[in-house]
């Protein structure tokens, strides 16, 4: 089976927001709406400080809490593991927003639909690669098949010991190098 996932290497992210704006453009989002949030983390005390930017978006969880609570089954998971929203079924109740531990669901003002990152899924396939990966200026993002041990993403996860953002909070499919 194909199981899509992403790796984000914060040791390469300079926080340029290219992923955010490219994502907004391809998805037609308003300037204030974003599928990616940025968390600036500062550790240590002057002058021994480590600072990183941690981009957070839908983790496409295997056991997606947003999908479990959706009363209309608008949120669903494709065979290849991408969590999507059926716009026609979404009633804008915001249960998913409350359920998502990553705060990754965003209400679209124009339609009322509670949307999120869809790995640039359009006509039956994810983007190849998604726009956030395609435009990353430092190669901090890798997209690919988590079930293919030979894929670039699997090799990088193994090499860097990349981990989900919050342990086993959910079975997330975005891995982080931090």
């Amino acid at each position: 089976m194909t199981r899509y996932g992403m790796l984000i290497n914060t040791k390469k992210c300079v926080g340029c927001y290219a992923c955010r704006v490219a994502c907004q453009m391809v998805n037609g989002l308003a300037p204030e709406e974003s599928f990616i949030a940025f968390n600036e983390v500062e550790q240590g005390a002057y002058p021994n400080v480590y600072a990183e930017v941690v981009p957070v978006q839908c983790m496409h969880c295997e056991d997606a809490p947003c999908e479990a609570v959706c009363p209309t089954h608008a949120t669903y998971t494709t065979d290849s593991g991408v969590v999507l929203v059926d716009e026609g079924k979404c009633i804008g109740c915001k249960y998913c927003m409350a359920a998502c531990p990553y705060g990754a669901r965003v209400q679209i003002e124009e339609t009322g639909v509670i949307e999120k990152c869809r790995f640039c899924w359009y006509e039956g396939e994810p983007g190849n690669p998604p726009r956030c990966v395609n435009t990353c200026i430092s190669g901090a993002r890798i997209f690919g098949d988590l079930d293919d041990p030979e894929s670039e993403i699997c090799r990088e996860i193994a090499r860097t010991n990349a981990q989900p953002l919050a342990g086993d909070l959910t079975a997330a499919k975005i891995y982080y190098v931090r």
């Binding site: 992210c13 600072a51 435009t135 200026i137």
Partner: protein, 736 residues
């Protein structure tokens, strides 16, 4: 080829398409969209014939990265970085994506405007604007000569050609770039030492690189970030010298916090160690340099202990850096920087640039693998003099060149125009793509200066603070709506690229740069120097380098003849044809010819702070502040905040998110504070570009502070840079 399979296979979503066409904008406006209408539109959008792609060059900053734009039904949908362009290398930064949407911004100028007696602006036709400007120009020439006219421009492919040709055709040599508020000191200093105005680090092979204030992660060019990321991956030592742990810190092995404006002491301390401990490259110094004995004698004073006293970097650190550089040499370098800490910041910026070059010379890294590389740039050859008539050399010298002889010839110092307006030597000023009034020096002083001028014309896409201070404002169409002259790109390889129109002009009453300057020239009686279209000129220029508009348009970018770059000691194009530890020109300007110490000018008092500024990756100074997508990021993440060291905040009882009043000798303003461990105590950091005062830029106006408001007006001796960080400030907590 620029067409990417991935993009071609993707299809727009419902919302993408709803936003993607002008026709559906009307539907959205009334708030209804029937299912049937949506299905019809979706079918149209799914039809690839509605989709088109074309190449252009980004205008988010002056890097002009190659981009591929995709439109749906004639409206811009997405942009992506051009693979073959040496600056984008397949990706665009956030600013690039945001700036691509400029055509649709609600902050644009849509028609020519004229300032009224009450200070407000009213529309005027192009014909009337050109005629009135032409008459005023003639009046100024009749009364004071053409040397009373000037143009200031932030270089863009068409702008740098047309603005200069226009001014020279009128008989004036007064052509200036933005450089005095950017990289003038750095480039002038590098030129005095090496003969070149810039150099690059060979990141692919370097073992150690030292950044002085510059941050690739904040003043972004994608290729630079990629190069550095690659070097870091390969295990290079990356040292960041900066009072602030900037956004390049993620790649750094070392952060060396330093007292602002004192980088020169660190560099001279390193030079002292290299010379006195005999760690320098004798062969290079003896064969390729001039003035080393004088430099060595002088640098003996600059011991690491002395340097520590000036710049507050421990002497042990200075010794260790020098020894490590010597061990890595010649595969190491001090990075050349850009605006940052010595582009135009301090009284010693020119000299700091020379000191950077001196350390690289001692390391023998000029032209070496992993070291400091001087490369060449292509340019168009001579054109048919009948079709493109030569403009006579203006009789009078450029205003300011005498007082500021070390300013780079290609840029001059635009602050000479400010002074010239004040003393009456300059009476007519044109600004192209330049927000000088807000960004180049004290805005209050600029306003006083331009009020004194008889004619001020601003050419811009938006009502900048400079436009607000002008008599006439001429609206340019935005980057993806226009064709421009070729951009020639230098480096190890040479390229030519073009801006080509991707979308129709959204506002039909805007014009492109070439149309505006040609119209101005005709109105001013010098139309005979512009008997060609921009396309004809582009074709002729490209023919001289062996390519064509069609070829560049088709491929997006064309590689030109191989300049034959090779590693090895470069030819130094200085008057002595050697690397210059001493400079006759610097001596003639009345300064110490030997590279040495110059202090910063302004020192804070006991209760004051140093104030340093810096760019953020999503903005290009004041230019991009009002763009919807980028302004939203600034607001969501509080990017306008003033950074304060946690230790200072604790002492002053200031918490993260508090509002403070910041004041200098020139200005007072309030702003929110970001408390951080990423800053040297005693120093405040302010993003330089916020605080717009233009009511036309609705989302930028009044958001954050403009650093230049706080900095007293004074020019770097002999160079004429704006000394953008020679300021001390007080800060106190106020109720938010």
């Amino acid at each position: 080829m620029y067409v990417k399979e991935a993009l071609m296979s993707s299809k727009p979503t419902r919302r993408t398409f709803l936003k993607g066409t002008a026709a559906t904008a009307a539907l959205a406006a009334v708030g209804t969209c029937s299912l049937g209408a949506w299905q019809a539109q979706r079918a149209e959008a799914a039809d690839d014939s509605a989709k088109a792609q074309g190449p252009s060059l980004c205008n988010g900053c002056s890097s002009k990265c190659g981009l591929i734009a995709t439109t749906l039904g004639g409206r811009l949908w997405t942009v992506e970085g051009m693979e073959a362009h040496p600056y984008s290398k397949g990706t665009l930064c956030g600013r690039g994506h945001g700036a691509a949407q400029w055509a649709y911004s609600d902050g644009r100028l849509t028609q020519p405007m004229k300032r009224q007696n009450d200070g407000s602006f009213a529309p005027i036709s192009w014909d009337d604007a050109f005629a009135e400007i032409g008459a005023k120009v003639q009046e100024i020439i009749a009364e004071a000569g053409p040397e009373a006219l000037a143009v200031i421009q932030d270089p863009r492919p068409s702008g740098k050609y047309y603005s200069k040709r226009f001014m020279n055709a009128l008989g004036s040599a007064n052509v200036y770039t933005h450089a005095a508020a950017c990289n003038l000191s750095k480039e002038s200093g590098i030129q005095e030492a090496t003969g070149a105005t810039n150099f690059s680090v060979d990141f692919a092979n370097t073992k150690m690189v030292v950044f002085i204030g510059r941050s690739y992660g904040d003043g972004i060019r994608p290729s630079s970030v990629k190069s550095l990321a690659g070097a870091a991956d390969a295990g290079a030592r990356v040292v960041i010298v900066d009072p602030r742990l900037n956004n390049t810190g993620i790649f750094a092995t070392d952060w060396v916090p330093i007292k602002p404006g004192c980088d020169i002491a660190l560099l001279l301390g390193i030079a002292n160690v290299l010379v006195t401990r005999d760690l320098y490259d004798h062969e290079f110094v003896e064969q390729s340099c001039t003035g080393f004995p004088e430099f060595a004698a002088q640098v003996a004073e600059y011991t690491p202990e002395w340097a520590e006293g000036v710049c507050d970097v421990p002497a042990d650190t200075i010794v260790e850096l020098a020894e490590s550089l010597a061990a890595a040499a010649p595969a190491c370098a001090i990075e050349p920087s850009w605006r940052a800490a010595f582009g135009c910041a301090y009284q010693n910026s020119f000299e700091t640039a020379r000191a950077v070059c001196a350390v690289n010379a001692l390391l023998g890294c000029w032209g070496q693998k992993g070291g400091a590389l001087i490369t060449s740039s292509p340019k168009a050859g001579d054109l048919d003099p009948v079709k493109f008539p030569k403009v006579p050399e203006p009789a009078a010298k450029r205003v300011g060149d005498e007082e500021y002889p070390l300013a780079l010839a290609g840029t001059g110092t635009n602050l000479a125009v400010l002074n010239g307006c004040n003393d009456g030597t300059v009476q007519g000023v044109f600004f192209y793509n330049s927000n000088a009034v807000q960004g180049y020096a004290q805005p209050a002083m600029w306003r006083v200066a331009v009020v004194a001028a008889k004619l001020v014309v601003a050419i811009d896409v938006q009502m900048s603070e400079t436009a607000l201070a002008s008599h006439y404002v001429l609206p340019e169409c935005t980057v993806l709506e226009r064709f421009e002259l070729p951009e020639f790109i230098g480096g190890k390889k040479h390229f030519a690229a073009l801006r080509t129109p991707i979308i129709e002009r959204v506002h039909p009453d805007t014009k492109s740069c070439d149309e505006i300057f040609t119209g101005l020239a005709e109105a001013c009686g010098v139309g005979q120097y512009f008997p060609f279209t921009v396309e004809e000129l582009a074709e002729a220029q490209l023919a001289t380098v062996g390519t064509s508009v069609e070829a560049v348009r088709e491929a997006g970018i064309v590689e030109l003849a191989d300049p034959g770059f090779a590693f090895g000691t470069p030819v130094f194009k200085t008057p002595t044809e050697k690397f210059q530890f001493t400079s006759a020109k610097v001596a003639e300007a009345g300064l110490n010819p030997v590279i040495g110490y110059v202090p910063r000018l302004v020192e804070p008092a006991e209760d004051e702070f140093y104030l340093v500024g810096g760019k953020q990756g999503i903005h290009s100074h004041t230019m991009t502040l009002n763009l919807e997508a980028l302004n939203a990021i600034s607001r969501e993440y509080g990017l306008e905040r003033l950074w304060m060291a946690a230790a200072d905040a604790a002492e002053l009882g200031i918490a993260d998110g508090d509002t403070v009043e910041l004041s200098s000798s020139e200005h007072t303003g309030t702003v929110t504070v970001k408390v951080t461990e990423r800053l040297k105590p005693g120093v405040l950091f302010m993003p330089t570009h916020y605080g717009s005062t233009s009511p036309y830029l609705t989302r930028a106006q009044g958001f954050g502070l403009n650093m230049m408001d706080f900095v007293p007006l004074h020019l770097e001796p002999a160079v004429g840079s704006t000394m953008s960080q020679e300021v001390a400030v007080k800060v106190r907590k106020v109720e938010g």
